[in-house]
Symmetry: C4
Subunit: 252 residues, 4 copies
């Protein structure tokens, strides 16, 4: 079989589209943000990526029917804006380095056909400690875009992220440059311990300004409250631990 | 060498054949069921799949001769029924995600040539606790087939299996849909701790009704008694443990 | 690069050649035996297999020069016998299942070109306990060869080896059958704890009768004495352990 | 996508160029040496190797822009010398054996196009103990080059390195011979516990004589002092341990 299959439901014709990616990762920030964007903008699914680089797995819907795990592509037609949108989210990232490269490259080929010239990838930046007000860190393909992002409140901080950006959110930028696509990665700060709707909201608040879209955050805020309840119960159940040296390191 | 070799002994011409798959997995339920079906229906082996996605291993027969590990295809010609049968069982599933996808896809290509339009994959649904009367859970490619399966006593339960179906029994459904093959997965409940002939019998009782075949369960019942004896001896040898929190979770 | 490179030094023309393989494995029995055979018969190296399925490694000779790890092919021209010989030994087996299959298949293609129709693969059969007089266990591609091997003192024992034969010694038999090559695997019993020249000698004593060659075992016996000395010193250094249940299992 | 992409910035025309490689490895000796050489000789970057055999990762520059991880090729034009230079360094070696082979082979194809006939690969030789005055051990493709290297103070010692040379520094020699490139590996002794600028300096002192270049070591010496300070602080913080048997083994 082909290493990657792009199964099209529809082949949309889009107006100078901007691409947004959010897949599972640290705190699931990118996936939460992209899924919320799909919901809010009533984006239409037009293609699925199925691949041997994903786990050999089907998921079972509530109705008892199945679907192969994969990544999904949605579009949003915007009559009142200069750019339509393409959004990718999905169940998994590629399981191997080879899979990561091949999936990102194949995605870029699809985007090239759609005429995408600008891209935003969404992810989480794991701090290893709880965070009240997550910042949004950035990285971009060129200095002009770095400046543009700063104007939207994105933080660019020397040495952060120190280990670079691993996975689709990084590769799409790096390989995308070879396709002539200018792009930025927006990373919401997160503890990384839990699924983190707060980090996703922080990222989307920036992205909403960039894309000039209105987003209602009621659902994400409800999810965040649920997570807060669970984590505070867990903390009550456990005796208060002595602060560890590594935790103090972050405070200092 | 080819990634997968299909070594044919015979190229049978079959009447609107239905495909049944049962490979090693949780509680070995699928493999036990498929092998019992082969025995009971005196199915005829017509092909073997040999592949670098299997372990580099030969098995030694009692006579001292060897055979490569792989998957085997059998057929059953049925003069008194509308559909002939094709059954697959084997020593292993593919070792890697890539191998799983490639083997399922290649199997589907073979089935397509044989004219298969309906498929049943058999497996176990691991509960992590002992079970007296295993149910048969289902998943299918389309809502009509879900309804049809309910008529045969198959349980469709929201959120079960929560993690989807991993391996050949899932992939054949998911990829099979791209080949236009309608199919259902039948999962016999099992503790998952032992090879489980009871789970296999539960699955076969449903399948017998679907395929309109008669199956004698004497041998499977004898195997089940052997397993029961071994496990009850093991329990005597060990002191009775306090019920664990996770076990109680299932009762509640 | 090619997945496997066969680098020829010479392309010998051989008379109905018989192939013997011995690569690293349990107790290194196969490799020891094949290397001793190469020494004793003054076999001539004519080709090397270099491959990405081996470790990315060069070895350094005593002179300071390097050579890539790989497998080596030797030949023996025998004027006084009906069959010339081809012998393979080497530094490693393939690192992955895929590598194992590809290397065995490529070796068989080379053998086919050389006109090989009979093959003996050498290996160790790990017992997990010390053994005084190792037997030689066998497996073969057809019942006639099983009988022939019995005549040379090879033991064929139901259920041994229970897990089949893993690696090149097994695959060459299994895949070789697809090339029409009749072959047997000869497995010398060994503890599997140490490099085992005794197991290698047992295998070679059988093989010498089959191939009608004379082999001097002085060197192998000297190596065996060295190993015996090391292991008896180790046993003195350690307090005598209580016999474990699993060890008793083998005695009973 | 291609397994390996060579992205050229420039296609230099070079005079009988000599190749020097230093990638991450034991004590990072090779990479430190190659980077220092690039700095000192003001080498010009002309190509990057990007590959799915590297991690799926981009690094973030201080300016907030990103670059894909990979290997980099530099050249040095030398009007006053018979040979120009090509230097390779980079972020990673290939992640898998296959990746190692493919990357080395692809590098050799690039070098062949550039007319390279002589190659020096740089690495560390891990001792597992602290070392005051690191020697430079060598290995080469032919006995003449072994003798030549001895003349530059390189140590060739029977049985060192006992396990051969693993990774690019070894493979480039082994595969390079198939391309007709004569080459030597220079290994600086290092504890292997830390990034080791002293080992890099030892290697560069030999290489400077071979290539007839002048190298200022001020920066490497400063780095070495930093490492010394850190390690001595660590030793103060920890109680003096009893010497372990394995450490004594090295002294004896």
């Amino acid at each position: 079989m082909d290493d990657i299959l792009v199964v099209y439901k529809e082949r949309p014709s889009l107006k100078d589209p901007i691409f947004v990616e959010g897949l599972p990762g640290v705190g699931n920030v990118g996936k939460l943000a992209a899924e919320h964007l799909v919901d809010q903008l009533k984006a239409v699914k037009f293609a699925e990526l199925v691949s041997k680089y994903f786990p050999p797995q089907v998921l079972v819907n509530d109705s008892g029917t199945i679907r192969l795990v994969g990544n999904e592509l949605y579009y949003v037609s915007r009559q009142d804006a200069a750019n339509d949108l393409v959004i990718m989210t999905g169940d998994y990232q590629g399981l191997t380095p080879e899979g990561q490269y091949e999936l990102s490259d194949r995605t870029l080929k699809v985007l090239q056909e759609l005429g995408v010239k600008r891209m935003y990838t969404l992810g989480g930046y794991g701090l290893g400690r709880m965070i009240e007000k997550p910042r949004v860190l950035g990285a971009a393909t060129d200095p002009e875009l770095v400046e543009e992002m700063k104007g939207f409140g994105v933080t660019f901080s020397k040495g952060e992220p120190g280990s670079g950006i691993v996975g689709a959110s990084g590769l799409l930028l790096g390989l995308g440059r070879l396709y002539g696509i200018r792009s930025a990665c927006l990373m919401g700060e997160t503890s990384g311990y839990f699924v983190d709707p707060k980090g996703a909201q922080a990222v989307l608040e920036v992205l909403a300004k960039i894309l000039q879209v209105k987003i209602d955050f009621t659902e994400l805020e409800a999810k965040a409250q649920q997570i807060d309840m669970i984590t505070s119960k867990l903390r009550e159940a456990e005796p208060t631990p002595e602060p560890k040296r590594e935790d103090l390191g972050y405070i200092g």
